[in-house]
């Protein structure tokens, strides 16, 4: 439950799209692994056999593509473009994650690390969508093209799989106070000031900041 003085970091739509993307991504990981490794074929047992698993994977893929389009449209403005010099500064400091930094570079709603994560997810996600659809419907396309969709799909998976664990760590125990941003959307002022000082300042200056217990000033929507 939010306490008085907490700050609204995300709206409902943002959180719903995030979990659509996350949920479909995890299901795709699990079912994909079930096909990639013979030892993991048993995962299909929960889906009416490996054929069922294939269809769960394929149709979850459609859901993933829809979620990805929504996420890309929604976050592009805030996370799709790097800002100089703040983002370079942030990268040089590794965001204060690896060594103690007195003043972490000013970060907006999303810091340079989150932007890199976002762009990787959009890029690799699009790659997964396109290669996956061609793998599903290869008929009529030149074999030389179809052949390379499989390693591309595997490449995108390896990148997303690794990034997933980075994201999981930094969204939970690696950065305490972050998780609520994607649960009920309320974060502490201290967390916002540490992680996204520029965003906090800008929102306050614009009078758009939503503070729990205070009268809502202006609705922000996507």
């Amino acid at each position: 439950m939010p306490e008085k003085g907490m700050i609204k970091a995300t709206d409902l739509f943002e959180r719903v799209v995030h979990w659509m993307l996350a949920g479909s991504c995890i299901l795709l990981f699990i079912t994909g692994l079930g096909m990639m490794f013979r030892e993991l074929n048993f995962i299909g047992n929960f889906m009416g056999g490996l054929v069922g698993l294939k269809y769960v994977h394929n149709f979850t893929g459609i859901f993933f593509i829809v979620s990805l389009v929504l996420a890309a449209r929604m976050w592009w403005r805030e996370a799709g473009k790097f800002e100089f010099p703040d983002d370079i500064e942030w990268i040089k400091q590794a965001g204060g994650y690896l060594w103690r930094v007195d003043h972490v570079a000013e970060a907006g709603k999303y810091n340079a690390g989150q932007k890199m994560f976002f762009l990787t997810v959009v890029g690799c996600g699009a790659l997964m969508g396109v290669s996956g659809l061609i793998m599903w419907f290869p008929m009529g396309l030149p074999m030389g093209l179809v052949r390379w969709m499989y390693p591309l799909h595997a490449f995108g998976f390896v990148v997303l799989f690794a990034f997933f664990f980075v994201h999981l760590y930094l969204g939970t125990i690696g950065s305490p106070g972050s998780l609520p941003a994607m649960l009920d959307g309320w974060v502490t002022r201290a967390w916002a000031k540490t992680q996204h000082p520029k965003w906090l300042k800008e929102m306050e200056a614009a009078g758009k900041l939503e503070v729990y217990g205070e009268e809502k000033k202006e609705a922000v929507s996507h």
Binding site: K54, G95, L98, R147, F157, A162, F165, S175, P176, T188
Partner: protein, 269 residues
Amino acid sequence: MMSTSEVIKLIDTTRCTACRGCQVACKQWNELPGLRTKNRGSYQNPPDLGWNTWTLIRFQEYVNEKGTFKWLFRKDGCMHCTDAGCVKVCPSGALYHTEYGTVGIKKDLCIGCKECTAACPFEIPRYNRRTDKMTKCDLCLTRLQANQQPACVKSCPTGALSIGPKDKMLTAAYDRVKVLGGDANVYGDKFLGGTHVLYVLSEKPEVYDKLPKSPSIPLSVTVWKDWLKPLTWIAGGGVIAGSLLHYILHGPKRPYPEVDQGDHAERGK
């Protein structure tokens, strides 16, 4: 006739008259329907291999450098590789090596993912949309197991097709090439670990339609299965280990307490 050691089916193209008895016998034994096709001005019919056509005589009009016309007949179909790309990529184990060294297909395990299509250097496995499964020649495995010749071999009236133990068939192929002389050559024993279908060709391999000169498992399959697949655990495991190390050695990044205090002071105003 057939022991349980490796076998080779020899296709002597120089003895083939393109009667297509093997095509019919294959369809009959494997209960594959004939589908209506169009006359394209060629005896080659159907035009290509398909889910219902596991073997096909390819008709080719060829004029050599001396200006001599030759009609080339080649029985196309699964080569039953030792290093089989299809077996390597099959996620369910539906494609496998039999006790004869040939590549069998367990229909009930096939999930119709079509991965084998992209892994085969000969483009042999075909997809049946209705059953959502892949199909291809299994060299009449059940007939081999019952000490019978494959249907195509059984039907061949000219002796172009024969089957037997690996060593014996290899010797027979090279003996035949010696007799033929000229450009005649044995195709199949020099790549993919040796195939279990062997050709005696009268011309160089590159002359024939749809016959790769030196087939190999596609590079895409090597990148996919030998490089990227093991990288899954290295990348995923590395990140998990790195995260845990970060947590233990450096500790998580918490909101700065001084910010918190400053905040309280601000709010206290």
